[in-house]
């Protein structure tokens, strides 16, 4: 047992930081620090900078561009990326469909898609959720019927994040309606330019367009776009959803937000003094910091256990709490950031897809605080709600 980072790990952390300082374009940094995600162009530029450095897909097999870092280094890289803050590479490509392709895909699929994902030549989105399915993902209804060397896809996906930018979508589709619900599902790669696909925006309560509905009407998909075997798609989906453990807690992101809260609470005044000097505010903030420090140690325990097992074994029981506590901390910090703004959290200062070109109401850093609080209510809902997570722990860990 040695609960300190090794010298090598510390040096690696410094190397990563130094690269970010040097390589992240200023306009992207400015957007990130204000709580905005960069636009498509920004993310493409940043991903290509990372890819040139060889760091776009660190966790992939070295054959396909991975770095060969151990899990602890991968964790350090991700934490620093979030903390800086740099934009995370597009998860739908590098964390979701990429690993599915290099694990279950054909050689042709690997050669064609993987380099394009690493370089963000293709923007991927995820077609899993359907209206009415919610946490019961396997109840999906989108049909794919084989006709010759094509599947004909009909149905509807929803909550499709950033589909408006997407070149490709990976979908779960039902290929056998007689089987019970987890069986009879296949995993298809679909070109968004195929005729019969329509994307409609869903505006969220914060006023942003992040998610969409995607409609499929007689969409022809070549059979070579099937990943793995027909009717085995649920297995690939479970593999994909289980791959989230190093990033789901978003430790680095919460650290960055806490740093931002501290910075802005030193600027906002309360009763003639900086808010940060208000003991009650400080104790609330510190209370979250303690939770986050504990979660960071929990995360490191999971990463370390993964490292021991070569990332193949059963997950550490502690890993199941990463999503729950991680989302609670994200929600607590977005609320605190909103509190910092006081009354200036109230003005609505961004318009869907258009930006806000007028001078700010109040301080120039307040605009995103309330929308970010509203938007982050999603983190305890998506990817298996916290209630579902607790069900899983009760059953799988506690045996109840």
């Amino acid at each position: 047992m040695d609960l300190r980072f090794t010298d090598e790990e510390n040096a690696f952390r410094e190397e990563v930081r130094a690269f970010f300082r040097e390589a992240l374009p200023k306009d992207i940094y400015d957007a990130m620090i204000h709580g905005e995600y960069p636009d498509k162009d920004g993310l493409v530029r940043w991903t290509r900078i990372l890819n040139e450095k060889g760091w776009a897909v660190p966790h992939w097999p070295e054959e396909w561009g991975g770095t060969g870092w151990d899990p602890m280094k991968q964790y350090i890289f991700l934490e620093e990326l979030q903390k800086f803050p740099c934009p995370a590479p597009l998860a739908f490509g590098v964390n979701m469909v990429g690993p599915v392709i290099y694990t279950f895909g054909s050689e042709e699929q690997k050669k064609h898609y993987l380099p394009r994902i690493a370089n963000l030549d293709d923007w991927w989105c995820q077609g899993f959720s359907e209206p009415g399915a919610g946490s019961d993902l396997a109840s999906l209804k989108t049909r794919a019927v084989r006709e010759g060397d094509h599947y004909i896809v009909n149905g509807q996906k929803t909550w499709t994040t950033l589909a408006q930018y997407a070149d490709w979508i990976f979908c779960l589709v039902r290929t056998d309606t007689q089987a019970k619900k987890q069986e009879g599902i296949s995993f298809l790669l679909i070109d968004m330019k195929t005729p019969g696909i329509e994307v409609r925006p869903i505006i969220t309560i914060d006023g942003g367009r992040e998610i969409n509905e995607v409609f499929f009407t007689d969409v022809k998909v070549p059979v070579e776009n099937l990943v793995g075997q027909e009717n085995k798609g649920w297995d690939y989906a479970k593999f994909l959803l289980g791959n989230e453990r190093t990033n789901i807690a978003r430790i680095g992101m919460s650290k960055q937000r806490i740093a931002r809260i501290r910075e802005l609470a030193a600027k906002e005044m309360s009763g003639g003094r900086p808010l940060i000097e208000n003991p009650r505010f400080m104790e609330k903030l510190v209370s979250v910091e303690i939770d986050l420090k504990a979660l960071e140690m929990t995360q490191l325990r999971v990463v370390s256990a993964d490292a021991k097992r070569g990332n193949t074994g059963k997950p550490d029981p502690a890993s199941s709490i990463l999503k729950i506590k991680g989302s609670q901390i994200q929600q607590a910090t977005t609320h605190l950031l909103m509190e910092v703004m006081g009354p200036y959290a109230m003005p609505f200062q961004h318009d869907t897809g258009q930006g806000w070109n007028e001078p700010p109401i109040g301080p120039d850093y307040a605009a995103h605080a309330a929308p970010s609080y509203f938007n982050n209510r999603k983190v305890s809902i998506y990817g298996g709600s916290n209630e579902i997570q607790k069900n899983i722990i009760a059953k799988a860990v506690l045996g109840l």
Binding site: A133, I205, L275, Y344, I361, F374
Partner: protein, 383 residues
């Protein structure tokens, strides 16, 4: 003690609820929000016809002689329907200054205009660095002959962009955060030197930044004593907070109803999700927050007209805290229980959540009022 509505109150409440049920559905509200003023002038006229504008003014001034309890009923109804029209700004805030601070002449002039719906008011008080400190006023008033000259910048003036006249606080003496030295003036919105910049808030309601550059107001437009307006401001704001708590109770009632309905109809894993015990208990927690919020709002309402500033302020702060934390629990649970659809603009539930979040911020958030109440010694005395 008697919690039942009088016959008149029942008529008021039922009539208003019925009208809002008919005229203020979710789609209609979206349409009203898209109008240039950010609300419906037609609905405004309906409220005036119903007598809502004259409700809390004395009968001798041309009002209906209603009190804080009547305001509570209206605000609850408005909260259930997420009403956008500036009744709160005009009748509760503006009307508060008229009622509590106006002399005979001022009341005689203004009450009839408020009552028939032709006059809209606002209250310009908050400033950039005031946060929630009611005494923090940097805007200055200088006496020049029979007039005062105002200079300063006011922020987050609720419905200030469409108000006809605006109550403005200004300092004639004292330091920035002194309670002494404050004045309240009623300024015409089109007065020379007054500029406004209107915008939308997170919940779809509207506010304005108001700048005053050498705005001259006649001394007849002074409300309350020169330099001694703080108690007046505190009283009007306390009444406004009690009213906002009532609106939040309306919000919570609507959220509880929508959520329970959703739990009964939405199916997952083959059953209505309302059969899951954890979700049931989350809904019960919302119900408890609602009923406790309703109770403490009644308490604040009971005290809202009191001239004992200490006792009144304590009751109002207690209510703001309970509503703040209960409202947050109710709003967050409502979204969580709705799942993804609760996150979308197309469902009503998210709009209630945003409104109740804004209510927590208005006139001091949960922490502010907990500190204030705590500093004032709390609610109960030592034995």
């Amino acid at each position: 003690m008697d919690f039942d509505l009088s016959e008149v109150q029942s008529m008021l409440k039922d009539g208003l609820d019925r009208m809002l049920a008919n005229e203020y559905g979710f789609e209609s509200r979206n349409a009203y929000m898209a109008e240039p003023e950010g609300y419906s002038q037609a609905m405004w006229n309906r409220y005036a016809e119903m007598g809502l504008m004259m409700l809390p003014f004395a009968e001798e001034d041309g009002g209906l002689g209603g009190d804080a309890e009547d305001i509570m009923l209206v605000m609850e109804s408005f909260g259930r329907a997420l009403v956008l029209e500036p009744w709160f700004a005009t009748v509760v805030l503006g009307g508060g200054f008229v009622r509590e601070g106006g002399n005979d002449a001022q009341r005689g002039e203004l009450v009839p205009a408020i009552a028939d719906g032709s006059l809209k008011l606002a209250f310009a008080h908050s400033e950039r660095h005031a946060r929630y400190d009611l005494a923090h006023v940097e805007t200055t008033a200088e006496k020049k002959g029979d007039s005062y000259v105002l200079n300063g910048a006011k922020s987050l003036v609720l419905n200030g962009d469409t108000a006809d006249k605006i109550f403005v606080s200004a300092r004639i003496s004292g330091d920035v955060r002194d309670e002494a030295g404050l004045c309240v003036f009623l300024v015409d919105a089109d007065a020379a030197g007054l500029t406004r910049r209107g915008y939308r808030l997170q919940d779809g309601s509207r506010a304005a930044e108001v700048t005053l550059e050498n705005v001259s107001v006649d001394s007849s437009r002074l409300f309350g004593p020169e330099g001694g307006a703080y108690p007046l401001i505190a009283k009007v704001v306390d009444q406004a907070v009690a009213a906002l708590c009532a609106e939040a109770v309306g919000n919570m009632e609507a959220m509880e109803k929508l959520t329970v309905e959703y739990l009964k109809t939405r199916k997952q894993f083959g059953v209505e999700i309302g059969k899951f015990q954890v979700l049931q208990h989350a809904a019960v927690d919302m119900f408890i927050a609602l009923e406790q919020g309703r109770s403490i709002t009644m308490y604040a309402t009971m005290m809202a007209d009191s001239d004992d500033a200490d006792e009144r302020g304590r009751a109002v702060s207690a209510a703001k805290v309970e509503i703040g934390r209960g409202g947050r629990l109710a709003g967050e649970n409502a979204i969580q229980l709705h799942g993804g659809v609760g996150m979308t603009m197309e469902y009503a539930i998210g709009h209630y959540f945003k409104r109740i979040t804004m209510i927590d911020i208005l006139f001091g958030d949960t922490d502010h009022h907990l500190s204030k109440l705590s500093g004032a010694g709390g609610l109960f005395e030592a034995a």
